[in-house]
Symmetry: C3
Subunit: 259 residues, 3 copies
Amino acid sequence: MHAPTPTSPALPGIAAEILARVRERKPRVHCITNVVAQSLTANVLLAAGAVPSMTVAPDEIAHFVSSADALVVNLGTLDRERRQSIEIGIDTANAARHPWVLDPVFVDRSPSRRAFAARLVDKKPSVLRLNSLEFASLSGEEPNEQALAAYAREHGAIVALTGATDIIGGGGRMVKIANGDVLMTRVAGMGCAGTALTGAFLAVEPDAWLASAAGLLAFAIAGECAAELARGPGSFAVAIVDALAKLDREMLDARARLA
Amino acid sequence: MHAPTPTSPALPGIAAEILARVRERKPRVHCITNVVAQSLTANVLLAAGAVPSMTVAPDEIAHFVSSADALVVNLGTLDRERRQSIEIGIDTANAARHPWVLDPVFVDRSPSRRAFAARLVDKKPSVLRLNSLEFASLSGEEPNEQALAAYAREHGAIVALTGATDIIGGGGRMVKIANGDVLMTRVAGMGCAGTALTGAFLAVEPDAWLASAAGLLAFAIAGECAAELARGPGSFAVAIVDALAKLDREMLDARARLA
Amino acid sequence: MHAPTPTSPALPGIAAEILARVRERKPRVHCITNVVAQSLTANVLLAAGAVPSMTVAPDEIAHFVSSADALVVNLGTLDRERRQSIEIGIDTANAARHPWVLDPVFVDRSPSRRAFAARLVDKKPSVLRLNSLEFASLSGEEPNEQALAAYAREHGAIVALTGATDIIGGGGRMVKIANGDVLMTRVAGMGCAGTALTGAFLAVEPDAWLASAAGLLAFAIAGECAAELARGPGSFAVAIVDALAKLDREMLDARARLA
């Protein structure tokens, strides 16, 4: 049933190939995301070649999602309107068989948000992208490879656990990405933007594990390139957008550190 | 009835003169705009010398609009509160005879938004700023010079159609601006920020055709200057704000490409 | 009852010491702030070493504030949801004895906002940070040292009046900070971000006068460092975030201009 795991050496080339498809097809990616991340997210998507839309109004969301190629759902700055739109948006995506990614920001800080996130996971996201605290809060387990594989199996989703090393697992496959830079944790909305990039990759690549591994690899390597030019977190946030627009196979091949 | 069309060579000088007025008078420009564009829009207005305010709360909007010199209405990320505030804001601007610009973002993606936009056009904006897809959706016509002139005449507004070449028409006058850079299409909210700059020019120049042609010329030339310093869309977004703050008559004269 | 005013020469060293504490303890700072300032505010807090959260949803706000170390309340882009959350947030902070700062943006432009702000001042913020127009609107007095001291005494808060020179008074102490750069007034949300930095300092320093004087000194000096690298307001907004991440005792000592 499962596609074979590409050997680690193949992933950079696949990432370059999917990125080329994003640039050529310019997929529409609709994002219901938090206000802090909206601008960086839109700029990351544009830099990669995708076309972002960001409305959260419940009466428009179905039109935007059904005319988009992928949906990104991020729970930061969750409000009444966002809750309502998220449910409509996901149901629309599922009905149209569009891929969608869930980023359950800060479920560890708010019980009502955790309960809402658990309900969304039941709607079967293509990919669940979260950090260790969020994974522990949602699964009730320590964030390790076994727990990740079990949670992915139970919910039929790819799980992408990001941190110093990103782990992407699900469907019997798993890869660890050791790329990235600590400055990525010093910019507001950076993780959310990475989730959105994964959404752009999902829009043009039906294999959700491959799309998310490739998307997070591309994002982490863009971050490394940016860190070399940055004087701090302010210029880093600018440089990562520049780096994404320029990212090519050579940079991906030369820098990928996978396990 | 109509002011004569300035010959093309005159426009850069007029733009420099209006920009000098913005810097000296520091007009208040109230913007009801989308959350993705709010920060860039406010920074573009500040860089040009204007004083932005951005509240969208219905119970405050009349106070902000009546104490402002111009109103900018942008339909991106339209929600219930924005719909309500937009109607109050426009009615307040019209009652006070303040100029206002309408930017009907994404009317081609949502029928409820298109209907709302059509209703706002009936309230007679000073300037309607849109791209080709939005013009086609709103007017039902191919986006060309004839259709633009007809739509402007029918609705008594200046119509500014932006793209690789900007066309500003209305009141029997028309100019084409071939300035700008493709990076302007790679930054979220860039078009919205250009609309807001037009609002700042309208705040100090009663001739709406002149204000919008001059504002869009200034914006496009700032974009060209920024592109020369940028390493990609991230640094471009920063550089265009710097360029606007420095823009002067020499840069406008040397670069303007008009028809 | 009052801690003695540190002699002016001592403040830079104290600011460096509090900043070191922020970097070490990584306090959580919850911000209910305006949409224009949210991204810059979050990035300024992250650059200083704090952990920002920004939700404004009424049903989550108590959880976020009670698990945070300080609360920042900013009245820009005030809407129904923000009004409701602000009251819950402040009551939660007061009950938990967490410090909170109030930034009554644009009270001079909207009577309903002024009335709301006056009600919040009665809830006893640790620090009230405002500009001259806002102080005059709220207190009904000319913005000078006497009026500031009287208002601080009457309301039991530290009052930080910012402008070309910042004046921080309350509890019988007062200091004037002549640092900063005019570019700080040309970037949207810059004052709001400075208020948030004060919140991070309050989270680790119980003496509210010291925390706010030190926080505003650090912010103004970061602004000076940034101005030396900037080509205009766009690159300045980037550079001040970089400068904050690097700020150290030497820079504070060398540049502080106090009275």
